[in-house]
């Protein structure tokens, strides 16, 4: 397992990760706390429940279908896109 910090890319911006952190935690730690807007009111959303229940923190990782940032463990080279 990687023990050295690494980076992921979030909408083109580099975000540092401590190995083992989720993508949501890395974003939150980097001061990015709103990374999605809602369908109807275009309201900003980020982490809320933090444990995979609320789906507020959805992101797309490496072009895949949206997943919960609070559950997805960040891996070196991950490219995250938000909506």
């Amino acid at each position: 397992m990687t023990v050295r910090p690494f980076s992921i890319t979030v909408d083109g911006r580099s975000v540092p990760v401590v190995p083992g952190q989720t993508i949501g935690a890395a974003l939150h730690a980097a001061g990015i706390r709103a990374w999605r807007t809602t369908r109807f009111g275009a309201r900003p959303r980020g982490l809320f429940c933090g444990i995979g229940v609320c789906f507020d923190c959805l992101v797309s990782v490496n072009g895949q279908a949206p997943e919960r940032a609070c559950l997805a463990e960040a891996a070196p080279g991950d490219e995250v896109t938000t909506s």
Binding site: V18, G20, Q21, T22, A25, A26, H28, A29, R33, A34, T38, R39, F40, G41, R43, P44, R45, G46, L47, F48, C49, G50, I51, G52, V53, C54, F55, D56, L58, Q64, A65, C70, L71, E73
Partner: protein, 494 residues
């Protein structure tokens, strides 16, 4: 391969149940959605030490991984009954593939999640559930914010606030909506947990964190993130008496927990209402649900903390073992069955259950919170349903939560009512109903179509005769079941 027992959930209940069965020689598979075992209480490893019971849990988890199939990062979305009586547990694997695990018996140990209450601005980034802030801190080593307000009801607010303060956050206050007693006369004291209550009191004092009862955050303010909150002084019913504005960047709010019972409800397990009104799975003294071959342990049978969860898991494990022996050795199993609920374990369980019930009674959610909402306050975050639309549905004749849902759509989005379900039922003025979710986790259509024909090797191939469990385990299962618990090196021993 058909397992003797499949366990869903890798927290203290699931691990204790799985390990008890595995030590007795049963073939056990455990599925958990996380990367590491532990559930919401023990999973977190970023902050070492300190968590009571963690070392003990890690010993159990380690012992289990030697003796059972542990499938981490597997999200269980459904359990079905095969024509022959076996249970098929459907899950999504880490790479998105459909996996089906077949077992003769099932233990539901799926835990619980935070029960939030809506308030104006609660969907602003920076507002987290109390458990969310805790998970960030303990699981990821991330302090949720710099200036944090903790609000809600129940003793869980205390470890959250002290943890955040110890990690360097400025905790501006713990606002406990319930109880007028204050920390010096906290219910934990009355319940014989003086050391724990004293530890929190000391820690809050050291970090100069005010603890105010009959207070709560009733609104969050900000443009794109939280910039301030309105803190209200409340009456007994939680109606607002007076307010002030507190500048902060983060709110951690929680009003108790919601037991996760979807899998049990899917299988038709009977439910009952817990002391706090939560629907929970009905379980007998041996943790058997009303459906044959299905056990439940931990929060799905009623929220009561990790000690109770572990005890219930161990009792369920013993009962599973007895059931397995009955089915293989006939009459010889009767003797075991009589002792399947060991006296010491069940007495301890009853004590912790009483403790859990006392906490539920000490921290009820009072109806005044409904007055915190404005017409435009989102009740359902996913479908962005404001209070006004729910009231409109009621004016159109919706008298219960289900018809409100059909007319106004709260609970129809991604989270399937897990977050707003409690609030909508309260607004409808009806008791909490068990969830009706045919799929317990969102899955892809591809995975759903694959699940129709389980082809994964977990379900098909496998060594040995599934019926010879009495001889297939390590050593003599009787020895293991009866003597292990008393050995000092046993991971399940106290």
């Amino acid at each position: 391969m058909t397992y003797d027992l499949v366990v869903v959930g890798g927290g203290p209940a699931g691990v204790a149940g799985a390990l008890t069965a595995a030590l007795a020689g049963l073939r056990v598979a455990l599925l958990d959605s996380s990367a590491r075992l532990g559930g919401q209480y023990f999973r977190h490893t970023a902050v070492p030490g300190r968590t009571p019971g963690l070392e003990r849990f890690l010993r159990q988890a380690h012992a289990l991984s030697d003796r059972a199939e542990v499938l981490s990062r597997h999200q269980v979305w459904s359990v079905s009954r095969e024509p022959g009586g076996d249970l098929l547990v459907h899950a999504g694997s880490p790479d998105g593939q459909a996996v089906a695990v077949r077992g003769r018996r099932l233990l539901i140990a799926t835990g619980a999640y935070d029960r939030p209450l809506p308030f104006p601005g609660w969907d602003l980034p920076g507002v987290l559930t109390a458990g969310g802030a805790q998970a960030l801190l303990k699981g990821d080593g991330v302090v949720a914010g710099r200036r944090i307000v903790v609000s809600g009801t129940g003793p869980f607010l205390l470890p959250v606030a002290t943890g955040l303060a110890a990690a360097g956050a400025k905790v501006l206050g713990v606002f406990e909506a319930g109880g007028a007693l204050g920390l010096a006369r906290h219910p934990l004291l009355a319940l014989g947990k003086a050391a724990e209550a004293g530890g929190y009191a000391l820690s809050l004092a050291r970090h100069r964190v005010p603890y105010l009862t009959r207070h709560a955050v009733v609104a969050a303010h900000g443009e794109r993130e939280v910039e301030a909150v309105t803190v209200a002084r409340l009456d007994k019913q939680w109606n607002v008496l007076a307010t002030r504005v507190v500048e902060c960047d983060t709110v951690a709010a929680g009003y108790g927990f919601v037991p996760q019972i979807d899998v049990g409800v899917q299988l038709g397990c009977g439910t009952r209402h817990d002391v706090d009104g939560s629907p929970v799975l009905e379980a007998d003294a041996a943790q058997r649900t009303t459906v044959p071959g299905v056990w439940a342990a931990g929060e799905p049978t009623g929220v009561g903390g990790w000690r109770l969860a572990e005890l219930e898991g161990r009792i369920a494990g013993r009962s599973v073992v007895a059931d397995a022996r009955r089915s293989t050795s006939g009459a010889a199993g009767v003797e075991v069955a009589a002792g399947e609920v060991a006296g010491v374990l069940s007495r301890r369980r009853d004590r912790w259950r009483a403790f859990g019930a006392a906490l539920h009674r000490a921290y009820p959610v009072q109806p005044g919170w409904q007055g915190w909402l404005r017409d435009d306050t989102l009740v359902c975050r996913c479908e962005e349903v404001p209070l006004a639309r729910i009231r409109e549905a009621q004016e159109l004749g919706a008298t219960d939560a289900r018809s409100i849902k059909l007319l106004a759509r709260p609970g129809m989005g991604w989270c399937q009512g897990r977050i707003c379900g409690y609030a909508v039922a309260c607004l409808a003025g009806e008791p909490q109903q068990p969830p009706r979710r045919p799929i317990a986790q969102p899955i892809t259509l591809g995975a759903l179509s694959e699940a129709a024909e389980p082809g994964d090797d977990l379900t098909t191939s496998g060594p040995g005769n599934p019926d010879d469990l009495a001889t297939s385990g390590p050593g003599n299962p009787d020895d293991l079941a009866t003597s292990r618990a008393d050995k000092p090196d046993d991971p399940l021993a106290h």
